[in-house]
Symmetry: C2
Subunit: 348 residues, 2 copies
C-alpha cells in the first residue's frame, strides 16, 4: 500500500520537481488566474507524478476554515432521522463541506455536551442538532459553543435558529381527512411527551377536532416503536363499537403495531376502524392494509438547515427567516377508505 511511505510529499517537493516556487503550486491548486498555461501544466504534471494532495490541517490552520460541519443526532436507525441525516450530508457536500456525525443512543444534557465537545475536537465550524426531545433543546440553549448551532425538529418555539416540518399542519391534514371521510371523531396515539413533534401533532389533532365542534377523546401514548403501537392497539380495539372508528397514529411504526393489534382482535381496517400514520416510511405502502400517512420532505429540511447554518457561519444575515417551517403532505391509501357509518362494505 502506498500509505506506508514515511512522509507524503509537500507543496515544496512538488515545487522543486516543477522548478517553481511553492507559492506557484499553491496558485495552481487554488485556480488563481495569473499563472502561465505552460507553468500550470508543468506544475500539474508534477502533482500527478508525486501523487500530491494538499495537507488539509495546514490549510485549515492558515485559512481558519476547516470546511467541516457537525451533526448530532439520536435514533439514527429510524427512518426520519436517517433520511434527514442523508439530506444534510448531501446538501453540505454540495456546498463543499465535510460532515462529521455523532449518533447518540440517548439525548441528555451530558451526552449532548460530550457530543458537542467531540465535534469541536474535530474542528467543526458549525453544528446541526437533530434534537427532537424538548429537554435536549433546552440543554442546547445552555451549552453555548464557540460555533453556531442550528436545531432541527425542535419546533419553532425555541430561542435557537431552527428548521422544522410543520407538525401541526401534518396532524391537521390527517385529522381533517378522517373527519372529511365521515368519521364523527378521531382518536390519537401520540408519541413521547418530551418530543416536541409529538406534542405538536397532538396540538394539531386537538385543534382540528375542536374547530369541528368535537370533544377530543383522551389521547393514548406510545414510544414510537411498533410494540408500543401494538399495545395501544389492543386498548383501542376495546373501544370499537363505542364510538371509535378512526385513529390518527403519530408515526408509521406505531401504526403498524396498531394494525396488527386490530387485526388480531378481529377489527377490520378500514371498514371498522380507519388508521392514519405519520412519516411515510417506505414500508407503509405495503402494510396490511396500505397505510394513509403524512409525508415529510426531509430533503428540503436538509437543504434549508445547511443553508441557515452556513449563513450563520459566514456571518451573513440568514437569507430566509431563522425559524423555518416546511409543509408536509397527506398520502391517502387503503387504510382510510371513505368511511360509511354502516358496517359490512367490502373493499376492492
Amino acid at each position: 500500500m502506498n500509505h506506508t511511505q514515511l512522509r507524503p510529499p509537500t507543496m515544496a517537493d512538488v515545487a522543486r520537481l516543477a522548478g517553481v516556487s511553492h507559492q506557484t503550486v499553491s496558485r495552481v491548486l487554488g485556480d488563481h488566474p495569473n499563472v502561465r498555461d505552460e507553468t500550470r501544466a508543468r506544475v500539474q504534471r508534477a502533482i500527478e507524478e508525486m501523487g500530491y494532495r494538499r495537507n488539509s490541517s495546514a490549510r485549515a490552520l492558515v485559512t481558519r476554515r476547516t470546511r467541516t460541519l457537525g451533526v448530532v443526532a439520536s435514533n439514527t436507525t429510524l427512518y426520519g432521522p436517517a433520511s434527514t441525516l442523508f439530506a444534510l450530508e448531501e446538501a453540505a457536500r454540495t456546498e463543499g463541506y465535510v460532515v462529521s456525525t455523532v449518533s447518540l443512543r440517548r439525548l441528555t444534557v451530558e451526552t449532548l455536551s460530550e457530543a458537542l465537545d467531540h465535534l469541536s475536537q474535530g474542528g467543526v465550524e458549525g453544528v446541526i442538532a437533530l434534537a427532537p426531545q424538548r429537554s435536549a433543546v433546552e440543554a442546547l440553549a445552555e451549552l453555548r459553543q464557540p460555533f453556531p448551532v442550528v436545531a432541527v425538529g425542535t419546533g419553532t418555539g425555541v430561542e435557537i435558529p431552527s428548521v422544522n416540518v410543520d407538525q401541526r399542519l401534518g396532524a391537521r391534514l390527517a385529522t381533517g381527512h378522517l373527519l372529511a371521510s365521515g368519521h364523527r371523531t378521531v382518536w390519537h396515539l401520540a408519541g413521547p411527551e418530551d418530543w416536541q413533534e409529538a406534542v405538536d401533532r397532538v396540538d394539531g389533532w386537538r385543534a382540528t377536532l375542536e374547530e369541528a365542534g368535537v370533544e377530543p377523546p383522551l389521547p393514548l401514548g406510545g414510544d414510537w416503536s411498533p410494540l408500543s403501537g401494538y399495545r395501544a392497539g389492543q386498548e383501542l380495539a376495546g373501544w370499537v363499537g363505542r364510538g371509535l372508528t378512526a385513529v390518527f397514529v403519530a408515526n408509521d411504526q406505531m401504526a403498524l403495531g396498531v394494525l396488527r393489534a386490530l387485526r388480531e382482535a378481529g377489527v377490520r381496517t378500514p371498514q371498522d376502524v380507519a388508521v392514519v400514520g405519520f412519516d411515510d416510511i417506505p414500508e407503509s405502502e405495503f402494510f396490511a392494509p396500505p397505510l394513509t400517512t403524512v409525508r415529510q420532505d426531509f430533503a428540503t429540511v436538509g437543504k434549508r438547515s445547511i443553508a441557515l447554518l452556513l449563513d450563520l457561519i459566514e456571518g451573513r444575515p440568514p437569507s430566509g427567516t431563522s425559524r423555518v417551517a416546511i409543509e408536509p403532505q397527506l398520502v391517502v391509501r387503503a387504510s382510510t377508505f371513505p368511511y360509511v357509518p354502516q358496517p359490512g362494505n367490502a373493499p376492492g
Copy 2:
C-alpha cells in the same frame, strides 16, 4: 452569540493569563505528569476563564494525526446500512476518533472516487467503505488512496481487508429451517445480482437444497424494495399448489411485499406458504404475519471494522485476520409455523 468574537484565544493567551509559558499550558492539556499541582490548577482556571479550546488544525498539523475516519456508504436510509453506520460511529468515538460520512445515492466508480476525494479533503486517516455492490469493490481496489481502506459487506473474496456477516450461513439457516419444518423445497427471491450479499445468499440457499438432494427452483430477482417483493409475490402466488410451499426472501422489505401479494391472492401465510426474510428490521415482528428472518449483528460489524482499520492506520499487524466474517442468527416467528402438508390448520 459568543462565536462572533473575532479571534478565539490561543494557547499563548492562556499562558499569559496564567503567568506561565505556552508549553506549560500544552502540558496541562496533554496530562503530562511533571506539572506542579498548583501550576496545573492556575492554568486550568485560566483555560476556563477564557473559554479556551485547542485549535485542532494546529494540533493535527504538528502531530500528523487528525483523529478522523471516513465512511462511504449508499442507501443509508435502509435499516442495514443505517445500523452499520451507527455502530461504526459509536465504535470510532469510543476510540477517540471523529467520523465523517459521505452518503451516496448510487455507488459507481465516479461517485466512489469523488467520495474518497471529498473525505481526503477532510483529512481522514482511513476509510470504511460500505460497498455491497461488487462493481464498487472492484473500483475500490483500483483507487489506491494514501490511507488505508476497509470494506464492509463486500464478501470475503476481495483483495481489500474486509469485514462481513456470513451471508451464506444466514441463507443456510433460513433454508435449513424451512426444510426442517417439512417443506419439500424452498423458493428464493434474490436481491440484485451485483450485490455480493445477494449472491452469497443465493449460494447458501442453493447449497443447502443441493445437500438435501433437492433441485433448486429458478430464483426470482428483486431490488430490495417492498414493491419489487410485491411483484415477485404476485408471480409466486401463481405457483401455489404446484410445489411452492416455502419462500426464502433475501430481505425483510421484499418479504413485506411478498406477504401483501400472497394475501391479496388469497394465499395464507404460513398455512399455504411459509416465508422467511433477512435482516430483522424492527417492523418485521409486526408484519402480517410476524416474519421469521435472519438477524445480523451490526454492532459487532462496526466494532470489528473500526478495530481493523485502526490496526492498519497504526501500522500494526491486524489483531485478528483481515477478512472477518460474523455469524448471523435465525429468528423464528409466525410466518413459518411448522409446516404440515395438509391444508386447513388454523394458527393461534
